[in-house]
């Protein structure tokens, strides 16, 4: 059996501020085993990024952890002290690449000084910029990046190069879990392909054992992931093997999402595709029952009143009353 790297149970995280409470992540459970690459797909505002931020243990301002457990390799993220989290867990066990990775670098120092700062924090030894460069040279070479990149300032790098440099830096200490948020959304197609190749190389060479990648472009996730989770309005609606989800989606929202992606394939022009009316819900006051029911074409009476449980069906998890059997009605 594969060992479990990450176990998330009933995770809740809300944004709180003058605007009220936004139920961004509301009861998400999932398990990542060693060797898993999970794709987290959904529209903007469905809680993908918030979910990844919550796993890191430092979700940032306004986003508050509200309950549930996260266990990463035996560390219970919200039970251990902040110092332990910083010294032992981050970068070594979990590495997180934020969506705004392009702005994550300090614009006033060279990349090597940035790396030296990071190494000092994680190892406790002081490093000079040049020592840091020597340490990372091999790792960069392996990823087809020139070591001179480390001598440059962030503004001298192109967007795709910056993104790849950041991934290279964050995988230096061989984390067991890499969380990467929208790795390709701001890149054009050629850099996007290079990024995908790099992530796959990291996986195949054994540098990273498991990953969670969030993206709204399912066609990109298709190239990397072995499992895909579809999120809608703060909840997981469907989770299963990539092929199953793409070729035979169960949940009505997944079906809609697969059509509206418009991949470059001949079938999209055969007939006019149906779009679904309405817009994603305001998560300050999410709809009762199933959160997709106001837009769903196959809505039933029960959908508006009761939340469908996440049940296992044919090797995948789906949260929809259409797929629930009679005996699941009683929760």
């Amino acid at each position: 059996m594969n060992s479990v790297v990450l176990r998330v149970q009933d995770l809740k995280g809300y944004y709180k501020g003058t605007f009220g409470v936004i139920y961004a992540v509301d009861g998400v459970s999932l398990t990542i085993e060693k060797g898993d690459i999970l794709g987290l797909a959904g529209e903007s505002g469905c809680g993908k990024s918030s979910f990844l931020k919550l796993i890191t243990g430092t979700p940032g301002s306004l986003l508050n952890y509200e309950g549930g457990t996260i266990e990463v390799e035996g560390y219970n993220i919200y039970k251990i002290t902040a110092k332990k989290l910083r010294k032992e867990v981050k970068c070594k066990v979990i590495s997180y690449v934020p969506q705004s990775a392009l702005n994550a670098l300090n614009p006033t120092i060279q990349l090597k000084s940035f790396v030296a700062d990071m190494l000092r924090e994680r190892t406790g030894h002081k490093y000079s910029g040049n020592e840091a460069r020597e340490l990372l040279t091999n790792h960069f070479k392996m990823l087809n990046l020139d070591k001179h990149v480390l001598d440059l300032y962030p503004h001298q790098l192109s967007g795709g190069m910056k993104q790849r440099a950041i991934v290279a830096i964050s995988t230096y200490s061989n984390p067991s879990l890499l969380l990467i948020d929208e790795p390709t959304s701001s890149l054009d197609v050629t850099s996007q392909k290079r990024m995908v190749e790099m992530l796959l190389f990291l996986y195949k060479s054994g540098t990273i054992k498991s990953m969670i990648i969030s993206a709204h472009d399912v066609s990109m996730l298709r190239q990397i992931c072995n499992r895909i989770a579809i999120m809608y309005a703060g909840k997981i609606v469907e989770l299963g093997k990539t092929d199953d989800i793409i070729n035979n989606p169960f949940h009505p929202y997944t079906k809609l999402l697969m059509v509206s992606l418009l991949p470059l394939e001949k079938w999209i022009k055969k007939e006019k595709l149906n779009s679904v009316e309405g817009k994603p819900p305001d998560l300050r006051s999410p709809p009762s029952g199933c959160r997709f029911h106001p837009r769903c074409t196959e809505c039933m009476d029960i959908c508006a009143s009761q939340l469908p449980p996440l049940i296992e069906k044919e090797g995948r998890f789906v949260s929809c009353w259409l797929c629930s059997q009679e005996d699941h009605y009683v929760k």
Partner: protein, 270 residues
């Protein structure tokens, strides 16, 4: 000679941007762009960022001045037009619906302002308040918006999809012959994106509107367009029916572009 079928023709359109003041540097925005737009056709321009797609669109809209080249609407040069007359025939919808609206005014204002353009033309048409409201409501209905839900609201109260539809409705009040859509869906959620594209398709069928659709998303371009132009570094590298350009590309660049787009039902061999 211009045939009856063509509504817009662009000939050797070139734009060089200059950088700096003393030691100037020339940057190519677009170079020798030549194409024509037929009546009732959707022509899409595809290219990576920086390939000059938007430069071409802004020149056609008359927002920036070309370095050289001609833009002919119905055989008449853009320079010969009164700008207001020209904008009655050519209208644009832009990338970011949030920045198009003034946050201090309700969304009615840009719709009502449109009538100044219609009234300021030589015909001296005047619209009464009731007429204006009727036309606004009709055009909102054509793009699938219920007028009472939208009118009198402020931009921050509406979603991106609604704002973008409002902008399409605004351009329809003018009844243009050519609509330029410059990445109209890039700021919009995946599930509402398809609805906007379907709206554009319906307009083409119902009104015979000619459209120039500019995008970096090849899937959308294929879904929408009859013909496609591929641009690279300011030049047109391939032009032809959408089917041929995307599935039997001739140019090396197009082949590379199409190959690096991830497909849903195929896995790359890496």
């Amino acid at each position: 000679m211009l045939s009856k079928e063509e509504i817009l023709r662009v000939e050797n359109l070139t734009k060089y941007y200059t950088l700096g003041y003393i030691f100037t540097k020339k940057v190519i925005g677009a170079e020798n762009v030549t194409f024509d737009l037929k009546r009732g056709e959707i022509l899409s321009i595809v290219g990576e960022s920086g390939s000059g797609k938007s430069t071409v669109a802004n020149m056609i809209l008359g927002l920036i001045k070309p370095t050289s080249g001609k833009i002919l609407l119905d055989g008449k040069d853009l320079l010969m037009f009164n700008k207001k007359d020209y904008w009655k025939s050519v209208q644009g919808v832009f990338q970011d619906p949030y920045s198009t609206f003034n946050p201090f005014y309700t969304v009615d204002k840009p719709l009502i302002d449109t009538f100044y353009l219609l009234e300021s033309t030589s015909e001296n048409r005047k619209f009464s308040k009731n007429e204006r409201e009727k036309i606004i409501r009709e055009s909102l209905k054509t793009v699938g918006i219920i007028p009472d839900e939208i009118l009198g609201r402020y931009p921050h109260q509406l979603s991106g999809g609604q704002l973008q539809r409002l902008l399409i409705a605004r351009s329809l009040i003018i009844c243009p012959e050519v609509l330029l859509a410059d990445e109209p869906t890039s700021m919009i959620d995946a599930s509402t994106r398809l609805a906007i594209l379907n709206e554009l398709l319906e307009l083409k069928e119902a009104r015979g509107l000619s459209m120039l659709f500019i995008t970096h998303d090849v899937g959308q371009a294929y879904y929408l367009s009859d013909r496609t132009i591929v641009m690279e570094k300011g030049k047109i590298v391939e032009i032809g029916p959408a089917e041929e350009v995307f599935f039997q590309p001739k140019c090396e660049y197009t082949k590379r572009l199409v190959a690096s787009v991830p497909k849903l039902h195929e896995v790359w061999n890496i």
